[in-house]
Amino acid sequence: MNYFSIILPSLLRGTVISISLFALTLILSLPLGIPIALGENSRIPLIRWICKAYVYIFRGTPLMLQLFFFYFFFPIYLNIRWEAFPTAVFTFVLNYAAYFAEIYRGGIKSIEVGQYEAAKSLGLSKVQTFKDIVLPQMTRIVLPPVSNEVITLVKDTALASVIALADLMKVAQGIVNRDGTLYAYLIAAGIYLIFTFIATLILNNMEKRYSRYEEVM
């Protein structure tokens, strides 16, 4: 019991870092995915090509490689010294925006042509059509796959420990190495589980709220 109270504070400090990384990644990458998804459907070939290449690269390479790459890229090539935390946020945002863009693209595609025709016949502008007609319907459709990614992100934050970010994973690892017992891993596992549990609850709630207009079978 005494041992727990000794290691718990540093584990919790790591948890705060993990949660911050998680939250910032979501806040920035969820909206960033929208312009990329629209860009993939753009009528201008160059924009389409850039967006597709972006998504292909970030989904096609390991997140860990991307973390290492940017960790060294900024100081070596741009002469910018970034701490591990901003580097991790930067990389995670770029990576997750690519995944979200792909999900959004599917969601936009699933909106029926008739919805656009109705919007057009009522004189709505393109912005109004997207914001008020497409986006709310798309949100309901993409919520389940987005939820999946969000849960994955909880666990992916542990990857940031490879660039020496003092997140929950890194702290637990340090304690285990120092003390030679696995308790820190067990506690960390428990914290991750609570974390995913809360995230699942919130997401389920959102799914319920957004499906209120769905067909009742």
Binding site: E112, G114, Q115, A118, L122, L124, Y213, E214
Partner: protein, 274 residues
Amino acid sequence: MANKILEMKNIYKTFENCEALNDVSLYVEKGETVAIIGASGSGKSTLLRSVNGLVRITKGEIVLDGEVIASSNEDTEFKGIKGGAIKQKNGSTEAKYLPDNLFKEAICETGMVFQHFNLFPHMTCLENITYAPIKVKKIPKEKAIERGLSLLEMVGLKNKREEYPAKLSGGQKQRIAIARALAMEPDIMLFDEPTSALDPEITGEVLSVMKKLADRDTTMIVVTHEMGFAKEVADRVIYMDSGRIIEEGSPEEIFYNPKTDRLKAFLSAMIKTN
């Protein structure tokens, strides 16, 4: 000379080697109900959808409320634009149209009702009706709601104001869709096979709303397979086949005195299937 709400002159529409509309001319006067009948693929929906730009015409001229909105005629000048044909990327040509913002404004004078309703599923019935008046016409919200409620009453669905479309039957959805189009106070209503997606026993409730509109001298074009409706409600009936208007006249002329063999064959086929 009665007031022409819509005039379509020598309209052509080519879809990749297929002539969907071939020199079609049509006018609609204020208060008139025009029914367009014909087999599937005869071009009647294409004609209707070219009125509000859902289909962009290849050649011809469209005059809505006395204002040219599209023209391939180089002698026509509208809003400082010279008519003409524009080459499209895919090799086809398109008549010149009003710039987007002006075109949108112009087609606010049309209201369209679709075969598959196309209601916005994430909005309640009342929101479906009030959205465009508030956001596009900038009508104050209270006024839009007040008008929306009276339209709901007119189509007999006032009790459904807070329901989402998914909870409604097909006939109810279509009546909401009619109310939604009417809420923009258009000068002309366009009906694109409004009862074709409905079960036969509930087409009546939609048709009776449409009849009510016709009785109130709403200007409307109705593309339909409902011969009974065309016979009873229309002031003028147009029969189309393979992208052309074959016959045009009063319901009596069209249904009891068809002149062409094609129309005779079409009518006898319709009687058999009904």
